[in-house]
């Protein structure tokens, strides 16, 4: 797996702190939803930093991918990618990487997606992959965020949940809820798993992604609700969400 060059072709703000970066990648071999790329930045004196970012876009054959980067308060790379980077700049990346935390279009079983914050990115790739393939695999997303302004892909998720053959989406707000929200702010819990995820007798395959503590908590809840550990796939983003 070699480092390839990629050109920034589009920049799109998702929230006040997160930005989607569209990249045209030289000789891109294609990818499977859930995979990630490693991005390497090199300073003029040769110092380099590498970070992993999940691919947000659906598999396609036009050599373009999108990643969504959240700016971390003490980050070394994310401030550069979310504020400094401009259309026309070059990035180096390696990938696609990963064969376990992936959803393949020939999967037909019910799928449970559980996202904590920026953990929604690879799961969005799965949702987009399903849509572009015209798959009718039953999909549910439980999406936990701090507050309404932190939701990524809001309009697109809204559109996808309104159609036939839709993705059923449940939002959980941990710090601040929208006005008149029926559930007070708080972490996901037993009750939310019971009402917001596929029942275990449907034997779904689950994908849980986000900060490490979120993944451990959500996985414990799914297992307690009767989900089979072997059918839960996880991807951890570290304590603060930075994967280095």
């Amino acid at each position: 797996m070699t480092w390839r060059s990629a050109k920034v072709v589009e920049l799109r703000d998702e929230t006040a702190t997160a930005r989607t970066i569209g990249l045209a990648v030289r000789d891109w071999p294609g990818h499977i939803a859930g995979q990630h790329v490693d991005v390497r930045l090199t300073a003029p004196d040769g110092y380099s930093a590498v970070r992993s970012y999940s691919i947000a876009s659906a598999p396609n054959s036009d050599g373009r991918i999108e990643i969504t980067v959240e700016r971390l308060p003490n980050g070394e790379v994310s401030p550069y990618l979310t504020k400094e980077l401009m259309v026309g700049d070059d990035l180096e990346l390696r990938g696609p990487i990963g064969g376990w935390f992936v959803w393949r279009r020939d999967q037909t079983e019910p799928i449970q997606l559980v996202a904590g914050g920026s953990g929604v990115v690879p799961l969005m790739a799965m949702i987009r992959s399903r849509a572009s393939a015209g798959s009718s695999a039953p999909f549910r997303l439980l999406y936990s965020v701090r507050e309404p302004g932190a939701v990524f892909y809001r309009d697109e998720l809204q559109a996808l949940s309104g159609q036939g053959n839709s993705v059923v989406i449940t939002y959980a707000y941990t710090r601040m809820t929208p006005k008149d929200w029926p559930r007070p702010a708080g972490r996901i819990d037993v009750e939310l798993i019971a009402t917001g995820t596929w029942p275990s007798n449907l034997r779904p395959t689950s994908y849980v992604c986000g900060p490490t503590s979120f993944v451990e908590h959500a996985t414990d809840l799914l297992i307690a609700a009767g989900q089979d550990r072997e059918r839960i796939r996880t991807e951890r983003f570290g304590a603060t969400g930075e994967r280095k």
């Binding site: 480092w3 300073a43 040769g46 110092y47 380099s48 070394e76 550069y80 400094e84 700049d89």
Partner: protein, 199 residues
Amino acid sequence: MAIISRGFAGRRSAAEAKLPPGQYLTTDFPVLSAGPTPHISLDRWEFTIDDGSKILKRWDWKSFRELPTETITVDIHCVTRWSKLGTSWEGISLDVLLADIKTDLPYAMFRSYGDYTTNLPLKDVVNKQAWIAFKFDGADLAPEHGGPARLLVPHLYFWKSAKWVKGLTLMPHDKPGFWESLGYHIYGDPWLEQRYSDQ
């Protein structure tokens, strides 16, 4: 050849003081760890010195803290290139811990809770060159920085200053510890930039 990223400088700041080659100055205190932070209760903590077959000395926390201590201010240099100057510690000198030990074994493997190890020549931990430190900056050493106690050997790269230290084993020959067996230099002098084992 890597693509240079326009406008990227990383986290480094300009070095003003004299630093070993390849280092940059930091004012924070990065936490590096190869595993979860062990939480060792003081009533189970012990420090032992053995020669590979028998235990020569053992202290529990109470007897350890009855030993004479020193406060020292030293510069520390990490192989990942950050240096932190003027760090203040309180600890017990290895000269005190090794005082009654007569040995001709010239090397030591320091052992930590959480299975980290690092090797040192014995002559590098005596003569006021090494301490078992339990306070940093006047406060009890935090678990993430190696508390209750860590080895402090400031003249070598900081991976030699084993966190959560629990003892040392005297050895006849030098043997590589955790990082030394994975491509890092067996000795690690930052002023000679001895980072890696291919040097």
